[in-house]
């Protein structure tokens, strides 16, 4: 509707007076404006900046937040204004939309922030005015590309359930994923180079025999044949392997790279078949030319080459224009030169097509000199030809260059993003794990607090009491409820891997705390935990007197718990894990004595026995065997796990 000119609606209705006398039937009843509100000023307070506008201005767009009754949710009775806790700068353009009917996109705004504001206020971004629409779309596309890049990177990560075929395909497409893939990549590159070099050397005359120079190819036929065969073998095997591994064989066969592969190896096979037939040996020789296409196989290995190819493809229209204009100019000048030189004797310009060669050579400023005009007219036109040649070629070239530059920079940006991706992901991961760890820490602190209540010393308790905000405590309570519901507990990742380890290695011969280093062990049950969480953040550690971790009391511990061994398997395991945590991380450095105290308790108050073990909901682990020895392991602090679960000991 004409909401932009809503103010003129009374005029349009008044203008209908022209229809009344003409109408033959009575007019319908007019709608009554029952809410006879006077037009009033509405105050909008956006993060402190006040905007005021007429109510009718906002009513123009009733399907947005400000135009509908949804804004009542933001009404503040005390100050009689509508309060929005949003960005006031972005709000300016939104309010202007109501006023003028056109939505503008301020160039300095971040595109995602702006989109969020639009969505919040119920305005669809498609109505951005023409003046700003292009800019908006460009920025939006860039943003989408960035997000897509991220997603693709995630896809790159190895999924746990990839079968052999998918693994192979992934290895082919991204050589950096595994060593085998890298080796394969370099080997094929090497053989491509060898093949191309032998093709070239084949034609070099090496050594003069009795009568004439023979190209090396004919002198050392066998050697070259062997090299060629070897290369073709490798290429064939590679092609077949790719074909096998491709997720969609049909698509793969249609892709450019595979066509290049086929063209590179076909001549050899055709040659094998056709050696005997004399008639087609000429064609056979031509086929050898196609061997040079092997050099295009390098484009799998070189990103720059791919960019070049892509640029040419995307500049197809400019190239077409260049070609067309050149053709036009060539024809014109060839005709002119032919007729100009027609008079002179023994001229090389025998026909117009013969003059094409001269025109091309001149326009591209090559100037071989095999054909030169002799008449004055011919020379004049020849000079005009060379001058215009420069112009015609110089015009589309900057377009192609700028296209190439744009694509190249895009690629560079993508590379940069990929390089920074690791840092970015680890940042995100740390942030995520920070919140999870906070819960586990606070659990521990809560228990420690209770213990301290039992054991005394006010000061320690005060030191340990971390001031958690209300939100945090509520969040922790929520996680706690979840633990209770599922009868499992959140555990630290290191603990979890250790448990995995222990369940895998069922036998524990020694009972002494053998310091087994589990650094390199990736147990099957834990899956491949490639990249992962770092050590538990120590930042939120409550201040406490550091207690050096010593082996003595721990040994005692192990002795103690082994005695209590059988009947309380879970306690055992819990204390065991606890014990491990003490050893492994500095966080529990203070809690040497507390650990002991914990064991002395019948059951830890907050944790009812859970049969299965001590893992957060996503993990299930078989119950630990009752009497595994204390194995104070040195944690690998930077084990990389693909899954983002933070587990810590139960206590």
């Amino acid at each position: 509707m004409a909401t932009g000119v809503a103010a003129w609606l009374p005029f349009a209705r008044a203008a209908a007076i022209g229809w009344m006398p003409v109408a033959n039937c009575p007019m319908p009843v007019a709608p009554r404006d029952n809410s006879k509100r006077q037009d009033e000023l509405i105050m909008l307070n956006v993060s402190g900046r006040r905007f005021q506008t007429w109510r009718t201005t906002l009513d123009r767009y009733p399907d947005t937040l400000l135009g509908s009754s949804e804004k009542d949710y933001f009404y503040n009775e005390d100050t009689k204004e509508y309060f929005f806790d949003r960005d006031p700068d972005a709000f300016r353009s939104i309010l202007n939309f109501y006023r003028t009917g056109k939505l503008h996109y301020p160039r300095h705004e971040c595109i995602s922030a702006y989109d969020e504001e639009l969505i919040f206020f119920g305005i669809i971004p498609e109505i951005i005015g023409d003046c700003c629409y292009e800019e908006y779309k460009d920025r939006k596309r860039e943003n989408l590309e960035r997000l897509q890049d991220d997603q693709e990177e995630n896809k790159d990560m190895k999924q746990p359930n990839m079968n052999f075929r998918e693994t192979m395909w992934r290895a082919f497409e991204n050589p950096h994923t595994s060593t085998m893939a890298l080796v394969f990549y370099y080997v094929t590159g090497f053989f491509i180079a060898i093949s191309v070099i032998t093709n070239v050397i084949e034609t070099v005359p090496c050594g003069s025999t009795a009568n004439q120079d023979m190209p090396c190819g004919e002198r050392y036929t066998v050697a070259f044949f062997c090299i060629d065969t070897a290369c073709v073998m490798i290429f064939t095997v590679e092609y077949l392997m790719r074909l096998f591994a491709a997720p969609s064989r049909y698509l793969f066969m249609r892709s450019v790279m595979s066509i290049i592969d086929v063209v590179a190896i076909l001549p050899y096979y055709i040659g094998l078949v056709m050696t005997n037939n004399e008639d087609v040996s000429g064609a056979f020789v031509t086929l050898r030319v196609f061997r040079v296409f092997r050099i295009f196989k390098f484009s799998r290995h070189s990103q720059g080459l791919r960019i070049l190819g892509y640029t040419l493809k995307s500049c197809a229209s400019e190239l077409g224009f260049l070609l067309f204009s050149l053709t036009m100019a060539i024809i014109i000048f060839a005709t002119v030169m032919f007729y100009a030189e027609k008079g002179s004797s023994s001229t090389k310009f025998t026909s117009i097509p013969a003059s094409f060669w001269y025109t091309i050579v001149t326009m591209t400023t090559l100037g071989y000199g095999d054909m030169v005009p002799k008449t004055i007219a011919g020379k004049i036109f020849g000079s005009i030809c060379s001058l215009s040649g420069v112009l015609v070629i110089a015009l589309p070239v900057p377009v192609i260059v700028s296209n190439f530059s744009r694509i190249y920079h895009q690629n560079q940006r993508a590379d940069k993003r990929r390089a920074q991706k690791k840092a970015r992901l680890s940042r995100i991961r740390i942030a995520k794990s920070g919140s999870a760890n906070a819960f586990i820490l606070s659990k521990r602190n809560g228990l420690l607090n209770e213990l301290l209540e039992l054991t005394g010393t006010e000061e320690d308790e005060q030191k340990l009491t971390k001031s958690t905000s209300l939100i945090e405590s509520q969040h922790h309570h929520l996680l706690h409820c979840l633990e209770k519901t599922t009868a499992h507990e959140f555990v630290d990742e290191h603990m979890y891997e250790q448990n995995c380890l222990e369940t895998a290695l069922e036998t524990y011969p020694s009972r002494s705390p053998s310091i087994a280093s589990h650094d390199s062990l990736e147990v099957a049950c834990c899956g491949r935990r490639g990249k992962g969480n770092t050590h538990l953040p120590n930042a939120s550690l409550p201040p406490a007197p550091p207690v050096p971790t010593h082996q003595g009391p721990l040994q005692e511990l192990s002795a103690i718990h082994i005695q209590c061994g059988g009947p309380l398997p879970h306690t055992t395991s819990r204390s065991n894990l606890n014990f491990k945590t003490d050893d492994g991380s500095r966080i529990n450095s203070k809690s040497g004595r507390i650990t002991t105290a914990i064991i002395s308790l019948p059951t830890p108050p907050a944790l009812t026995p859970d049969g299965d073990g001590l893992h957060g909901p996503p993990q299930r682990r078989p119950p630990p065997p009752p009497a595994h020895p204390a194995a104070p392991s040195i944690q690998t602090t930077t084990s990389s796990a693909g899954v983002n679960i933070v587990k810590v000991s139960a206590l």
Partner: protein, 220 residues
Amino acid sequence: MKTKNCDQSFSDSRELDGSYDQLTDSVEDDFELSTVCHRPESMDKLQEQTKFTKKELQVLYRGFKNECPSGAVNEENFKTIYSQFFPQGDSSMYAHFLFEAFDTNKNGSVSFEDFVFGLSIILRGTVNDRLNWAFNLYDLNKDGCITKEEMLDIMKSIYDMMGKYTYPTMHDEAPRDHVESFFQKMDQNQDGVVTIDEFIESCKKDENIMQSMQLFENVI
């Protein structure tokens, strides 16, 4: 020098559009017209001259100035604004007639005063006033009587606003037939024209028309 260059670039793009004529001065003329600013008379005076209250004048002026920041509407603008209310059909002819009716001093633009005077008559005037105004609208050459040709133009412009997609389908003779029935009703002495007195008399006799005139009470 700078302005010359940017004018030049302006003209180049216009030339490429296919016309190879020299750049006329029309571009500058347009700029000139739009920079002319027109200020209406004070609200008190307008309030005396029209039948609107101050608040109503405020609302009207705000709407008016929103669409025409320069203070006066030219015919193009007027047509654009009016066409936004009738997206399906072509309202340009009727808008043209309206413009002629509103532009009482015939200077090619409708100022706020003209606008408000017209609206005051239509919305707040007596029935006679309204009928007078309607007659003025129909009488294209302002000679005091409506001929069949004038009425036909008006009728066509009204039917044009309907557009193509109507039910039942519009056939070409519809305006003409309507004009015939109109003259049947209005032209009492059957002389082929409708004078103002015939018009007012016939309208007052027609119940439907009288009832329709009441519609304008509540527009503002």
